[in-house]
């Protein structure tokens, strides 16, 4: 009975901590994005609200929350609101299986910094990832607008294509690790003294492509396409309802998929890896905090990489995106799968 209570309390604490971090960080990533974009474009970015615009996300949030709640005529109100829930919940749920660090002991209780270490963690990630298509299709349909409909159809096409690609891309690391549990995948990389990116460069590149496509980042942001579709499926949403979609797509999903990428390819919380020899930790002075810092550092680097692409590249056309998925990316992942199957026994020794 006591064990159950302790588990309940710990899980509740984990949920609160993860939710607070994810949503808070998600809001503040808007500021990061605006600052990065501004400096790429040779301008200072937000400077007025707080020191170097530090309070800008709060001001933006306040503005969005106080806006009038508009609803398009002849739209479907239930689906219109359901789309928001369908967007936010699956994207946040992914963090349930993201391991933030190694197991540690506090007050005599062993705690894994992962909400649920289920043994099908990765399956859960991609199952939840494909839920995003419902939110977008519903948003486009319920808005009763042609632009929204076209935008959501585009996005649905992309997600259908890239779900297949991303699933095959992560096969490689899964074969190497021999497990679907995210925590165990990291643990295996540490045990084998190998970041899987060294053996899976193809899978990593394909994964990055698919990640950009799924989150609607440039060069795959066709569902937004300001110029032709005036922000696509979100066109009929206003206020915070409008703000929620980019928050989910551009920040929470990018964060969660970056975290999964770090778990799969960069050894999660492990420090810098020298293949087959071991790990070098320049941050050893942080002691037990070091793994957490490494994890955050890697995720941030990946996120900044996405931002860098976003503010540099032009945009693909929808047919070119799906073409790349089926004709280039998918065959590549097949080749990678076969190669991995051949070389995997070397890793297992």
């Amino acid at each position: 009975m006591e064990g159950l209570l302790a588990w309940l309390v710990i899980t509740l604490i984990k949920i609160v901590v993860i939710l607070a971090i994810v949503l808070g960080v998600g809001a503040y990533l808007t500021l990061v994005e605006r600052k990065v974009a501004a400096h790429i474009q040779r301008r200072p970015g937000p400077m007025v609200v707080g020191w170097h615009g530090l309070l800008q996300p709060l001001a933006d949030g306040l503005k969005l929350l106080t806006k009038e709640d508009l609803f398009p005529r002849y739209g479907n109100r239930f689906l219109y609101n359901l789309a928001l829930v369908m967007a936010l919940v699956p994207a946040t749920l992914v963090f349930a299986v993201v391991p933030f660090g190694p197991e540690f002991e506090a007050f005599g209780i062993k705690v894994k910094p992962i909400l649920t270490d289920v043994n099908i963690g990765l399956l859960l990630v991609f199952a939840l990832g494909s839920m995003a298509v419902f939110s977008i299709a519903l948003a486009g349909w319920a808005s009763n607008s042609k632009y929204a409909l076209i935008g959501s159809m585009r996005k649905a096409g992309i997600i259908v294509s890239y779900e297949v690609v991303i699933t095959f891309a992560v096969m490689g690391p899964i074969i190497l690790a021999g497990t679907l549990s995210t925590y165990d995948i990291v643990q295996n990389q540490i045990d084998q003294k190998l970041w899987y990116v060294w053996l899976q460069p193809i899978a990593f590149v394909v994964y990055m492509f698919a990640m950009l496509a799924e989150t609607g980042r440039v060069p795959f942001d066709v569902q937004e396409a300001e110029a032709e579709l005036v922000t696509g499926f979100t066109v009929e949403y206003g206020g915070m309802k409008f703000g929620l979609f980019p928050l989910v797509e551009w920040y929470i999903e990018v964060l969660s998929l970056s975290a999964i990428a770090v778990v799969l390819f960069f050894g999660g919380w492990s420090p810098i890896n020298i293949p087959f020899l071991g790990f070098v930790d320049p941050l050893f002075f942080l002691g037990p905090l070091s793994p957490f810092v490494w994890f955050v550092l890697k995720v941030s680097l990946l996120f900044l990489f996405v931002l860098w692409l976003h503010w540099t590249l032009p945009r693909y056309r929808i047919d070119q995106i799906t073409e790349t998925a089926w004709k280039v990316m998918l065959p590549l992942t097949f080749v990678n799968l076969v190669l991995t199957a051949v070389f995997a026994p070397l890793i297992w020794r």
């Binding site: 474009q41 040779r42 942001d221 110029a227 032709e228 005036v230 945009r315 056309r317």
Partner: protein, 571 residues
């Protein structure tokens, strides 16, 4: 002047009996009765006058037949222009089989004068809505319009008749289109054949202004497409008939508002040519005008580059381009005192001399701009995504250039080296060296490259102008002196400027194509009729053809590559 000579048409004279050739220094016209006009135009097209420039009519209410129609044609290979004229009482044969651009010109003439065209496939109004009753450019249409609608302003509703002075103006107004009117217009333009009709515009970020596109979509593929123009129609041609020559100058700013200086220059050159004082304009004024309009060309192309990249999703280039554009605007503001609507040139010169230090600022700009340009090219020109979005999209063949009356960078992108700065040098263009870039395939990518190279060539011209201007003494005149003030008064504000009887078609090379002015003067201080040939309008008329069977994502790329400005299309 690049007009064809009378002897060019000797063979035609044998074939067409009633043909009368009129040769003047400002114009070469062929007169023929309207029954044989199609045959004559066909013969001219075979002779090499392939490029369609313009068509409209001049209204003479007290003559019979009432309308004089004119067709402007150009022979690109021999660099000759000719104008074909005929008289009609309101019915003309349609030339849509010969030139597609003629179709749009005919729609405009139908809209503005009520001319009926026999054999026209879809004779609908060009700018006004379908249920509009009048023909605004006819001489009997009053300048203030027919006030039939009771449309009080909010103040008038609130205060009734208590409004004093200027606030209390007429409550009756010319009609504005209602929602039903617009629906009728839309139905008449496009018959739905595929799945959904997408209204793209009139206010849409991709249309670069207020254009109303109708896309009939099959999935995301465009089955057919049409444009509804007129959201920015201000009747500039009607205004021109009622303003003095220098007063009209300010309206040329507001036509193509992104290249105001070039439009200014084209207008004053046209008036100067009509007056015959082109040689009187001092060299300094000519160099200044040339330099300024080249600065404006870079300015305009920068806006094009920024919005084009923005349309294709490259957001950062937009800000890079606008940053440079801001510097250019500052230079222009320092010299002329205005940033957007400039009106710097005058008939006979420029409004004022260059301020001190202007040349140094321009030199500094010319020195550092190529570096910026190179950086942008590094980001875009060999970028794989950029290439995939651009190459092979919207191919315009050479024949299409003539058929659709395309000019400017769009024509040059398809390999037709039609550039009036070379073909018909005005101001200082004859004295400076520059090249005309032309494309090979005529796709969007070629037009992109052509415009980038044009910016470099503009820099070359500016450099040479600066060199020439530096050599001139500070006291050199910048405004023409009239040789005989009693015969020809040439004041700077243009008041009292009397233009003799005559007509002229003169054009300038705007950043968006040929901006031509057909001025028909019956003497006096105001023109009788001014027909403006907007480059953007004819460049846009190829758009529905290019859009067929393409997806919406290409719509923005194609439209931006044609680079229309609505102020000039609608006038």
């Amino acid at each position: 002047m690049p007009w064809a000579k009378g002897e060019d048409f000797i063979d035609l004279k044998e074939r067409f009996e009633g043909l009368r050739i009129e040769e003047k220094p400002t114009i070469t016209a062929l007169h023929i009765e309207k029954e044989r006009i199609i045959d004559l135009l066909k013969a001219l097209k075979e002779k090499g006058f392939k490029l369609f420039l313009d068509h409209s009519v001049v209204d003479f209410p007290d003559r019979s037949p009432r309308f004089q129609a004119f067709y402007m044609l150009y022979n690109v290979d021999e660099r000759k222009r000719v104008i074909v004229k005929t008289w009609t009482d309101g019915v003309l044969p349609s030339i849509e089989k010969l030139w597609f651009a003629g179709k749009w010109a005919e729609r405009e003439a139908y809209d503005m004068f009520g001319i009926k065209y026999e054999g026209h496939e879809n004779l609908v109004r060009a700018f006004m809505w379908e249920t509009y009753q009048h023909f605004p450019l006819r001489k009997d249409f009053p300048l203030e319009g027919f006030a039939t609608e009771y449309l009080p302003s909010l103040n008038e509703v609130l205060w009734g008749d208590n409004l004093q002075g200027l606030m209390n103006y007429d409550k009756m107004h010319t009609p504005v289109p209602t929602l039903e009117d617009l629906e009728t217009t839309e139905k008449k333009r496009l018959q739905k054949k595929a799945q959904i009709v997408l209204n793209w515009g009139p206010l849409h970020p991709g249309t670069h202004g207020t254009m109303w596109f109708l896309f009939d979509l099959e999935g995301e593929r465009v089955y057919q497409c049409d444009v509804i123009l007129g959201q920015l129609h201000r009747g500039v041609e009607k205004l021109a008939e009622n303003e003095m020559y220098n007063q009209f100058l300010v309206y040329t700013d507001r036509m193509d508002y992104l290249s105001a200086l070039c439009s200014n220059q084209a207008w004053v050159v046209a008036v100067e040519r009509l007056l015959g004082i082109e040689d009187l304009v001092p060299e300094k004024a000519k160099y200044i005008r040339t330099m300024m309009s080249e600065l404006q060309r870079i300015n305009s192309h920068l806006l094009w580059l920024g919005t084009y990249a923005l349309d294709l999703g490259a957001l950062t280039i937009f800000l890079y381009a606008f940053k440079e554009r801001e510097k250019l605007m500052d230079i222009i503001e320092g010299i002329t005192g205005a940033r957007l609507t400039i009106s710097y040139t005058r008939v006979g010169g420029v409004r004022m001399d260059l301020p001190e230090g202007a040349l140094e600022v321009i030199k500094a700009f010319v020195k550092r701009f190529p570096k910026e340009l190179k950086e942008w090219e590094t980001i875009l020109s060999r970028n794989r995504i950029w290439l995939r979005r651009n190459i092979g999209v919207g191919v315009i063949s050479k024949e299409d250039v003539y058929f659709y009356g395309l000019t400017g960078p769009v024509a040059r992108g398809s390999g037709v080296p039609y550039d009036l700065r070379k073909f018909e040098p005005y101001d200082a263009y004859g004295w400076v060296e520059f090249d005309i870039p032309v494309g090979e395939n005529g796709d969007v990518y070629d037009r992109y490259l052509v415009r980038l190279e044009e910016m470099r060539q503009s820099l070359r011209i500016i450099e040479q102008c600066v060199q020439a201007l530096e050599k001139m003494p500070k006291s050199a005149p910048f405004f023409a002196e009239s040789p005989d003030p009693k015969k020809l008064k040439l004041p700077m504000d243009g008041i009292g400027l009397k233009v003799p009887e005559g007509e002229i078609y003169s054009s300038g090379e705007n950043p968006r194509g040929e901006l031509g002015f057909y001025i028909y003067s019956t003497g006096g201080v105001k023109p009788y009729r001014v027909k403006i040939r907007p480059g953007s309008l004819y460049n846009l008329c190829v758009y529905p053809k290019l859009m067929k069977d393409r997806v919406i994502a290409d719509a923005v790329a194609l439209l931006a590559s044609l680079d229309p400005v609505v102020g000039e299309i609608d006038r």
